[in-house]
């Protein structure tokens, strides 16, 4: 390896076509970024926008190419190539440990990559329209090109995040998307609130990244690799023989962590990053403020892609989780989805409503990850990306049309002015509400994904321990007897076993390195009831009941506030004539809406779900946690719209009693209340009990307040000022004090010192030494007799010293 060797063609040739395609898709927006950064202001207003679109179209092309190739390939495992480019070489315990850039190629990447490119293509196009007006002006200056410049950079970072197989690079791109989010939220940086929001977003994410860093350190030190797959292998191996992280013990600030606790800490640490990006409680505060950015940004970054990156991260590190860590994730997700949904009820700003609903849905995803519904959560991620992006664009359409009025109380009746927006938005509302015909398999994305998450949650909280009870006695390690007991239970509560066992089959196989995951079907057939997996499952916590019931309740709340939002905006009578008067919609902007609507309706289930299911097999083969597939056989034989399920394995059937009619109830309630405009709502709000709750919700449960005063203020105005004071007065003044002290001494010895001059060390030193020198110069009185006296005395002393020394 010669010095300063640059990446050469050799590196390129060893790459597979898919890798090249993916990388190309990543690089194209970067090129556009560079072009726009340097020549954007010359290219001018519409063109630079189209340039950016061109870049992202290339990415979309690559994405589709890879997607098609992936779906049509018989042996997908063979596709994932293992060539990596050595970026830097770390050194651990004397051994070199390279950090490689490697393209991660599996179902999840392909899906996400496609979703992101598709959605962002729509949004780029939409933005051209949205920015066509004066929306691109910052303090009167046209920043059109800068906007698309940032968008391209974001596209690059987001795609890079998706394809990087090393958690280290994941972190790098992670920060880069954070940067883009910062820049785009603060796009209108002449507005104080915008720059504040941007700062808030970045710093909150940094707090999360602090945890991420901690996780990275633990991975580095104990797993000795950053590559996700290798890390998982090592983790499994170390668990198997109780080595590495499992017999390590570290003390942090005197707090001793060891073994399983350490592994948990690692998981939680990594998850902290996700908490930041996906705005999970208690770091959720930045997302609503982030709406200060232009609406397309909210659609792209803060609804569809970046905020989902947190979920993606958790999906990637799923294999490194421990039961406790997983439980922690579930709790966080549950809390988030609840409080944010409640806050969403009272919002009157259309974007804020969407923001809080986004938070709530992200909560669902994280919660899903937490309960082990790996495929379901990701599925929800993708479906949500479509309909939420669509709704945001719709809101953008509305805002642009109404000249940046965002207050829903001033809207109403817009359906006549902007029909396309209205109905696409309505589709979105249905989707998020989980619209579907109960018991059947006809519905929209949210219907499948959310129900599945809930189904798994049900399983985890009600059926878990009695499902595997018989394993308690023999430690959960399978023998026939265990298998039988598992089998018979399976007939009773059919829902889960299929996937658990099925998944166990492959995950077990994958765990031992055999890459036969491609054919999940056969595997599923072959291994029924795997005791090993059952054993792992047994060690997992049982989810407490409230963590099942809260999401259920929120499943009713969601349709309510979404319907409320839609109704207040588009239905009823116009409440503000002049807003209503100006309202209009532009073609350039509703074409993307339609595309996304189609995506929402059709692209959801049959297209993504099976791939996720198969990917799960490898991606979730964890030694300590199991992934639960709520729709076992569904992905076995996907037909066109034919959601034919083996009936007793059907989440919707299972959940019918709980949320089957949630959307009807919620939306109905909303219509009832807002049918006549706002009066009824007002009256309800004034009810004695409600008022206080309403106030709390309006105040976002005081999170911002507490953070700003206690944390930010505490650091900025207390700690920092204290540090500054220490610096100026103590560190710098220590010698000062010395000086004063000596001066006292000097005065004490009968000499007046003119203390003075500026503060600080220099004069302090001077003062000190001057004090001393004044003492020293006492004898120099100018009197000869004194001189002689001192001289003789000194001489006598020296003589005495000599005698003393010589005699001794």
């Amino acid at each position: 390896m010669s010095i300063a060797r640059m990446p050469s063609r050799a590196d390129l040739e060893t790459m597979g076509t898919y890798e090249i395609a993916l990388c190309l898709g990543v690089v194209a927006p970067l090129l556009m970024f560079v072009v726009l950064a340097f020549f954007g202001h010359r290219i001018g207003k519409p063109v630079s926008g189209w340039a950016a679109v061109g870049g992202v179209l290339v990415s979309l092309g690559c994405a589709s190419y890879v997607l098609v190739g992936w779906l049509s390939s018989p042996d997908q495992a063979a596709l994932s190539l293992t060539h990596g480019y050595e970026w830097v070489v770390l050194n651990i315990a004397g051994a070199d440990m390279p950090i490689e850039f490697k393209v991660k190629l599996d179902g999840l990447t392909v899906m996400m990559y496609f979703m992101v490119t598709l959605v962002s293509t729509c949004i780029f196009v939409f933005s051209i329209g949205y920015m066509a007006g004066h929306s691109d002006e910052v303090d009167g200056q046209c920043k059109f090109h800068r906007f698309f410049c940032y968008l391209s950079l974001f596209e690059f970072s987001m795609l890079g995040l998706l394809i990087s197989s090393s958690i280290f690079f994941l972190f790098i791109f992670w920060e880069l998307v954070g940067l883009c989010s910062y820049l785009l939220i603060g796009f209108y940086f002449d507005k104080k609130f915008a720059s504040n929001a941007a700062m808030k977003a970045f710093i909150t994410n940094r707090v999360g990244d602090f945890g991420f860093l901690l996780g990275l350190m633990l991975v580095f030190v104990f797993l000795k690799t950053f590559d996700l797959d290798q890390a998982a292998e090592t983790f499994r191996a170390q668990y198997a023989d109780g080595s590495g992280i499992f017999d390590a013990s570290i003390s942090i600030l005197g707090w001793q962590v060891s073994g399983m606790g350490l592994a948990t800490l690692m998981g939680i640490g990594l998850f902290c990053g996700a908490m930041g990006k996906s705005a999970q409680f208690p770091l959720h505060v930045w997302l609503p403020d982030a709406m200060a950015g232009p609406t397309p940004v909210s659609a792209l970054i803060h609804a569809a892609t970046m905020v989902a990156a947190g979920v993606y991260l958790v999906a990637r590190i799923f294999r490194l989780l421990t039961p406790d860590a997983q439980f922690f994730i579930a709790v966080i997700g549950c809390i988030t989805l609840t409080i944010t949904a409640l806050i969403a009820i009272v919002q009157v700003d259309i974007k804020k409503v969407l923001a809080y609903s986004t938070l709530s849905q992200l909560g669902y995803m994280i919660f899903g990850m937490g309960v082990g519904a790996w495929p379901a959560a990701l599925f929800h991620l993708i479906t949500h990306a479509f309909f939420k992006a669509m709704m945001f664009l719709g809101s953008g359409q509305v805002i642009e049309g109404c000249h940046h009025v965002q207050d829903m109380r001033r809207m109403g009746g817009l359906r006549k002015k902007m029909p396309v927006t209205c109905w696409t938005f309505f589709i979105g509302v249905l989707a998020i509400a989980g619209f579907g015909i109960p018991g059947t398999h006809y519905g929209l994305g949210g219907f499948f994904s959310k129900d599945e998450v809930l189904a798994v949650a049900y399983e985890r909280s009600f059926n878990w321990e009695n499902r595997f009870a018989s394993h308690a006695d023999d430690g959960g390690h399978g023998d026939d007897h265990a298998a039988e007991s598992l089998d018979e239970r399976k007939s009773r509560t059919g829902l889960m076993s299929g996937r658990v066992v099925l998944a166990s089959g492959e995950s077990d196989g994958a765990g031992h390195g055999s890459k036969e995951a491609g054919d999940s079907h056969a595997a599923g057939g072959s291994h029924h009831d795997d005791p090993v997996l059952a054993g792992i499952a047994l060690q997992q916590r049982v989810i407490p009941k409230w963590m099942f019931w809260l999401p259920i309740i929120i499943a009713y709340v969601t349709p309510f506030y979404m319907m409320r939002c839609w109704w207040m905006t588009f239905m009823g009578k116009p409440r503000d004539e002049d807003v209503y008067h100006h309202a209009h919609e532009s073609r350039l902007m509703y074409v993307p809406l339609i595309v996304l609507a189609v995506g929402t309706v059709f692209a959801s289930y049959f297209m993504f779900r099976p791939v996720l299911g198969e990917t799960a097999v490898i991606a979730t083969s964890a030694p300590l946690v199991v992934a639960v597939d709520g729709a076992a056989a569904a992905d076995a034989q996907p037909e066109l719209l034919g959601l034919s399920h083996d009936k007793d394995r059907d989440p919707h059937r299972a959940m019918i009693g709980y949320v089957g009619f949630a959307w009807v109830v919620g939306m109905g309630l909303a219509i009832l209340i807002y049918r006549q405009g706002l009066e009824l709502a007002e009256r309800i709000r004034r009810l004695p009990g409600v008022r206080f709750i309403h106030m709390c919700l309006m105040e976002k449960l005081f999170f911002d307040y507490v953070y700003d005063t206690v944390l930010v203020g505490g650091t900025k105005w207390v700690l920092a000022q204290i540090a500054r004071a220490i610096d100026t007065y103590i560190i710098d003044g220590i010698a000062n004090l010395l000086g004063r002290g000596t001066v006292r001494l000097a005065e004490f010895s009968g000499n007046i010192v003119d203390a003075g001059g500026v503060d600080g060390l220099v004069d302090a030193i001077a003062e000190t030494t001057q004090g001393v020198s004044d003492v020293v110069r006492q004898p120099q009185t100018g009197r000869i007799r004194n001189y002689v006296l001192f001289g003789t005395t000194g001489a006598a002393l020296v003589l005495a010293a000599i005698i003393a020394v010589v005699m001794s």
Binding site: R777, T781, G782, I784, R785, V788
Partner: protein, 104 residues
């Protein structure tokens, strides 16, 4: 009658020495201090002569050196008086305590 030996000379010399030092320290008059110096020098002379007489080497180095000392003392005295005069011209006194313009 008792024999006068080296010790007696040395005692005299020592007394002279101590007195000289004492005079130097106490006198305010420059001339007085010079007298103190002379006393010490004479103490030295007594030592030299006495030692030479009693050390039995048979040389007269001691006496020679005492002559040197006397000459040196004379030269010094001459210069000293000149300097005192100069001082007196400037300050109209030979009180050494008045010589405190240079201090600190």
């Amino acid at each position: 009658m008792f024999e006068i030996g080296l010790t007696h000379y040395l005692v005299v010399a020592t007394v002279l020495f101590v007195m000289g030092i004492f005079v130097m320290i106490t006198k305010r008059n420059a001339i007085g201090i010079l007298i103190g110096v002379e006393m010490v020098l004479n103490g030295a002379n007594i030592n030299l002569v006495a030692f030479n007489r009693y050390n039995g080497l048979g040389t007269i180095d001691g006496q020679m050196v005492s002559l040197f000392v006397i000459v040196l003392a004379a030269a010094e005295a001459a210069l000293a008086v000149a300097i005192c005069m100069n001082f007196y011209k400037n300050l109209n006194t030979v009180d050494v305590d008045r010589a405190d313009a240079l201090s600190g």
